[in-house]
């Protein structure tokens, strides 16, 4: 579910509209923290798309708490 980009960042491989996968990953992630509600884009409240540690890119987002991803990688 995650790929490493040229900068060594962990990028969500599902893009910007993989609603189920983003929710599933967030439910498995101990670092999930909801962002300001105004920045939520997913209908599922617990979703990587609504997380304070995601940083949007043009096609997807970077997880800024990658140390936890080993525990949540599907």
């Amino acid at each position: 579910m995650w790929i490493i980009n040229e900068q060594g960042e962990q990028v969500f491989a599902g893009g910007r509209a993989a609603w189920s996968a983003a929710a599933q990953q967030a439910n498995l992630c101990p670092a999930f923290q909801a962002d300001d509600e105004d920045e939520w884009v997913a209908d599922q409240s617990v979703s990587c798309y609504n997380c304070a540690f995601r940083r949007w890119t043009r096609d997807s987002f970077v997880c800024c708490q990658p140390r936890f991803l080993g525990q949540s990688t599907a």
Binding site: D36, D38, D43, R55, R58
Partner: protein, 254 residues
């Protein structure tokens, strides 16, 4: 006097679970302070999405926040000073805050400001361009720490709010109702919403039409009005109704 106050780049990524105030919260706090001092009446804050691009430094989503206020003209310097001092103190360490205060009635080329806003949604703009435009249009633009790159987003936020056709209002719409189905008239009398529209074809719903309230509905800025978007009820809807509020994933485009 009608003014627009727009801020950007005031936040920083949360670290070690330390709470960081978002730009929207800071905008709402500035609005509250203006009203507490009796310096004017403020309208709700809107959020404006700008371009996400590798060449643009941003925290996590690159959005600007703006609100309008109705003030006595002689309070403009006080409000400018208040907003500047507030950003200098309250912005997160490591952020690059920018502040824009525009007086629409004094802008002789309003299209330039609006164009700047929409360009910032599609192009990488430079700080110098924002300052040149501010100078040409007589708009207050100031930076309050870091690189000050937030002036680009702040200027864009003011332009987009001024356009009346961009962004969504901060916060969820709250309804005082016992059930989840409400008339358009009730929506418009109990919230900031001025119009309810179908997201499919833009039809304005009649006041007597009923809407099922889904999770956390939001208003968007459209033709200068706070608009709540609705869609046809899904077959799985809990209550039989022709319309339901649009979900977050549908409104995110605004």
């Amino acid at each position: 006097m009608h003014i627009l106050i727009s801020i950007d780049d005031t936040d920083e990524m949360k670290r070690d679970m330390i709470e960081v105030r978002g730009t929207g919260e800071l905008a709402a706090m500035i609005a509250a302070r203006i009203e507490e001092r009796g310096w004017g009446r403020c309208e709700p804050v809107t959020r404006h999405q700008l371009l996400v691009h590798p060449d643009i430094p941003y925290t996590s989503h690159n959005s600007a926040m703006c609100f309008a206020a109705q003030i006595p003209g002689h309070r403009l310097p006080d409000i400018t000073e208040l907003a500047e001092e507030f950003l200098a103190v309250e912005s997160a360490p490591g952020s690059d805050p920018g502040l824009c205060i525009a007086v629409p009635e004094r802008i002789l080329m309003p299209g330039w400001l609006i164009s700047f806003g929409f360009m910032a949604k599609n192009l990488v703009l430079k700080k110098d361009e924002a300052y040149e435009l501010a100078d040409a249009l007589g708009i207050h633009l100031s930076e309050h720490g870091g690189t000050g790159d937030g002036v680009i987003g702040a200027m864009a936020g003011a332009g987009l709010r001024f356009s009346g056709n961009d962004g969504r209002f901060r916060g969820k719409l709250k309804f005082k109702t016992a059930n989840n189905t409400i008339t358009v008239k009730q929506v418009c009398t109990s919230t900031i919403v001025e119009q309810v529209k179908s997201i499919k074809d833009g039809r304005v719903l009649d006041l007597e039409e009923r809407v099922f309230l889904g999770e956390g509905p939001k208003a968007v800025l459209m033709n200068g009005l706070a608009v709540m978007l609705v869609e046809s009820c899904s077959a799985e809807a809990k209550e039989p109704c022709q319309w339901q509020t649009c979900s977050k994933s549908r409104v995110k485009a605004y």
